[in-house]
């Protein structure tokens, strides 16, 4: 055997030399969970993984996320805008001062006109550069956006439909692409995708459709501290967890996202580094407030008491944080929410009180999906725990797209479904809290699937959106989070720990408490 191995190794060594630098020093090759390569035409698809690896690498937004440390939840920081403030005379007008001296990868300078052009690209059906695919991606973040105007060459003003103190968070998801390059390719987005030009820390190098996307450092990046330390960044889509594990172990990639919890020990035994960090993600059940048992607060609380989250953690080999509230305790607006510790007796008592015993409920779940962790075993465990406390759960299993569709249509359309299990990103206050409970975000317009509505909470949300003082707004947000826990607005289950595995040669990575990560400091020792 040894002999065979040696021969094979020699053969490979010889071949690798001729084949060029497959994994030469400094190439970071990442096995992504995405089913395909994300779009390169601005706002990427493939969820936040697309933003993480393609979006924020090729492109910048006016507002970026500070991913330089991992001790506290990541917040926004200046990006292509250096500063922003609300117009003193008009609380529906945000003024953004743009960064000077920034150049697109194609050499054109970045100006206020480019910002206006980009908003047309992603949200104005009448503009010649309008791209429906981009519209679909940007739309969820532009719910309050009404228009943009150039003030001078380095200043733009955004108009919102209603006062929106959280607008800077939302604009952080709208990436800026080069109008220069768009002009060169005559607004042909298929062509643009092969020659993308942004202002980001990486430049596009080449791609093989569905297989790999390669980027190289942008040595002229405006933030000198973030010029990439590796020679090349390669992205490979690998939706199967076991495939990613095998690829890392056999040396085809040196970084994988989300290894299966059961593969962690095997990876460690081969010397792989496993990094985990809490981040604004939750895996919970959104409930039906229109019809069914969960319209009763006691039933909602009972479900929260019935869950043994420590067992769930064991199931995941320790790779989760027990969820106590919609946001993680490290969030600035966590506060002191009511905690539902495991107490099946109390759960049963509450169900009895609510006159729902056994309490028959149907959960819509998916077989897989971005951020869904291990949906099948986790849901099966949750079901058995809820059943033990007096519920009678039926799992309605469907594929990911079908669940998203169901989630989008809202509870009114699905009176027989009492809860949906769609994991959500809680990156910013709107997405973390408001969209779950605000009447203004009722499905199908927004993500309030179950049509939760409570006048006090709506008032609180209006106050938050109209409060431009950061500290005061924080206090209001804290109050909202506590109110959501009191209402048991969701069944809280788990926060993902975002495990990643990388080869021992990967150095310098700092995992931020965010869906996004900064790859620029990573280097690979030969």
């Amino acid at each position: 055997m040894k002999h065979v191995l040696a021969t094979a190794a020699a053969l490979c060594a010889a071949a690798c030399l001729t084949a060029g630098s497959a994994l030469a020093a400094g190439t970071l090759t990442i096995g992504m969970t995405a089913g395909d390569l994300p779009q390169t035409t601005g706002n990427p698809d493939q969820g936040f993984e697309g933003y993480r690896f393609v979006g924020y690498n090729l492109y910048d937004s006016l507002v970026l996320w500070d991913l330089s440390q991992g001790d506290k939840a990541a917040d926004i920081k200046p990006g292509l805008a250096t500063e922003w403030h609300i117009d003193e005379g008009d609380n529906k007008r945000w003024i953004f001062t743009l960064r000077q001296g920034v150049k697109w990868h194609d050499g054109c300078p970045f100006t206020a006109d480019d910002v206006v052009w980009n908003l047309g690209y992603s949200s104005n059906e009448k503009a010649p550069q309008f791209n429906p695919a981009q519209f679909a991606q940007a739309r969820p973040y532009l719910g309050t956006y009404a228009g943009v105007e150039k003030v001078d060459d380095h200043t733009v003003a955004f108009i919102t439909k209603v006062p929106d103190s959280l607008f800077p968070y939302e604009i952080s998801y709208v990436l800026m692409i080069s109008p220069c390059r768009a002009k060169e390719v005559n607004n042909n987005w298929t062509e643009y995708a092969l020659h993308p030009s942004g202002t980001g820390p990486y430049k596009f190098d080449k791609t093989v459709a569905h297989q790999r996307l390669e980027m190289v450092p942008n040595a002229d990046y405006w933030d000198k501290a973030r010029v990439p330390k590796q020679d090349r960044l390669v992205l490979v889509p690998m939706p199967e967890a076991s495939t990613r594990t095998a690829a890392l172990l056999s040396g085809e990639v040196n970084w994988i996202e989300a290894p299966s919890p059961d593969a962690i020990d095997r990876l460690k035994s081969s010397g792989m580094q496993i990094v985990t960090k809490i981040y604004p993600h939750n895996w919970s059940y959104q409930l039906n407030f229109v019809k069914g048992p969960f319209t009763d607060k006691r039933v909602r609380q009972a479900a929260n008491y019935a869950l043994n989250r420590a067992d769930m953690k064991d199931l995941l080999n320790g790779l989760m944080l027990e969820e106590t509230s919609t946001v993680t305790p490290s969030a600035a607006y966590y506060g002191h929410p009511k905690i539902y510790d495991y107490d099946p007796a109390k759960a049963k008592a509450l169900l009895k009180e609510a006159n729902c015993l056994p309490c028959k409920v149907k959960f819509a779940i998916s077989t897989s999906g971005s951020g869904q962790m291990q949906p099948l075993p986790m849901n099966e465990l949750a079901k058995s725990q809820l059943d033990a406390a007096g519920f009678e759960v039926t799992l309605d299993t469907m594929d990911w797209n079908a669940l998203l569709k169901l989630g989008r249509e809202g509870a009114e359309e699905h009176p027989d479904t009492h809860a949906i299990n769609i994991s959500r990103a809680m990156q910013d206050p709107f997405n973390a809290l408001i969209r779950h409970v605000w009447t203004g975000a009722w499905a199908p317009k927004g993500a309030n699937w179950g049509h939760f509505s409570n006048p006090e909470i709506d008032k609180l949300v209006a106050d938050i959106l109209g409060e431009f003082d950061t500290a005061k707004r924080l206090a209001l947000l804290t109050k909202l989070n506590e109110a959501m826990n009191e209402e048991a607005a969701l069944i809280f289950v788990a926060h993902d720990l975002n495990p990643r595995a990388m080869s021992p040669k990967v150095k310098g990575f700092v995992q931020a408490q965010s869906w996004f990560q900064d790859l620029t400091p990573v280097s690979i020792t030969p």
């Binding site: 071949a15 084949a19 497959a22 969820g47 519209f135 739309r139 298929t190 797209n401 079908a402």
Partner: protein, 318 residues
């Protein structure tokens, strides 16, 4: 005969049309939205309507079919929703990668399957026949995706001899069959893929050879005093058409790509493209891929039919 061939080719036209209808309608039964991939999970129904309109998915289905068919006639299969690449390009790229697997799997499977089938067929009932038939049964009974997983664990993960997935560090564009650095990515998928055709061919060949050996003319040849080698040559010649027909079908299957094997190895071929299109509800890609693969298959079926009618003119179809 020429008239018959022409007639058969003409018959293939309505079949192709039927295939196109099935392809087109199949994807519309699908739950979920055809524009799913371009939509973020949080997209609202209002957003979807606007985008649907922009993509032309709000038109009535028969109208969409005619538009699609019309474009098809000019060789335009539309654009992939998720990648915005022309479907034609997507399908041909994938087909090229699958053909690469087939290029190796076909000769291996055909020669091996045929050889062991002949050996078994020449000694029906003997121990060698038993062994060979047993092996062939394993080939057709093995869940090949399971075999693929096991091979990856053993050869890629534990012994690190061969790569686990994909087409190598440059992807399909820089794939060089003649260089080990590329060729090594072929080994495991080809072995996995060849398993079933080997089994099928061995079984078919064995049956065909054994059957021909039982026919009267073989006795006559022997009675005429022909050597056993010459007799076998006659037997093989007579059993070949039947074997070739099965080869044709297997060839078609291998070109169609195996969804499961390509999924296990993340091989960017037509099966992989198709499964991705199903998951993403990428309607144009789904339609284009199924259509292309089916048309390849229609052609293969046609050839098989013609071959069959050559063997036995009584079962001409139509």
């Amino acid at each position: 005969m020429i008239f018959y061939i022409l007639r058969r080719i003409l018959y293939a036209v309505p079949i192709a049309l039927g295939v196109s209808v099935v392809c087109f309608s199949l994807v519309y039964i699908a739950p979920g939205d055809p524009l799913q991939t371009v939509m973020p999970p949080d997209a609202t129904a209002e957003t979807i309507e606007i985008v649907k309109h922009a993509y032309g998915f709000d038109k009535p289905i028969p109208v969409q079919y005619l538009i699609w068919l019309g474009r098809l006639a000019t060789g335009d299969m539309g654009m992939s929703i998720s990648t915005r690449r022309p479907v034609f390009l997507e399908v041909t790229d994938a087909l090229a990668n699958t053909s690469l697997l087939a290029l190796f799997a076909v000769p291996i499977a055909f020669s091996l399957g045929y050889a062991i089938g002949v050996v078994a067929g020449c000694f029906p009932g003997r121990w060698i026949d038993r062994v060979v038939t047993g092996t062939a049964v394993i080939g057709v009974s093995l869940p090949n995706y399971w075999l693929g997983i096991v091979l990856v664990i053993v050869f890629a993960v534990e012994y690190m001899l061969l790569p686990a997935t994909g087409m190598g560090p440059t992807g399909s564009t820089g794939f060089r069959i003649l260089e080990w650095s590329s060729a090594k990515y072929l080994i495991l998928p080809v072995i996995t893929l060849a398993m079933i055709p080997i089994g099928i061919l061995a079984r078919t060949t064995r049956a065909a050879v054994a059957e021909v050996r039982n026919q009267d003319f073989v006795q006559t040849l022997r009675a005429k005093g022909l050597s056993e080698g010459a007799v076998i040559r006659h037997v093989l010649k007579n059993s070949l058409p039947q074997v070739m027909a099965v080869m044709g079908l297997q060839f078609g299957y291998l070109l169609g790509g195996s969804i499961l094997v390509e999924t296990v190895f993340t091989w960017p071929g037509s099966g992989f493209l198709l499964s991705k299109a199903i998951i993403n509800r990428d309607v144009p890609v789904l339609q284009g891929t199924i259509l292309t693969l089916s048309l390849v298959f229609v052609a293969t079926n046609l050839v098989v039919d013609l071959l069959q009618s050559l063997v036995d003119p009584r079962i001409r179809r139509g």
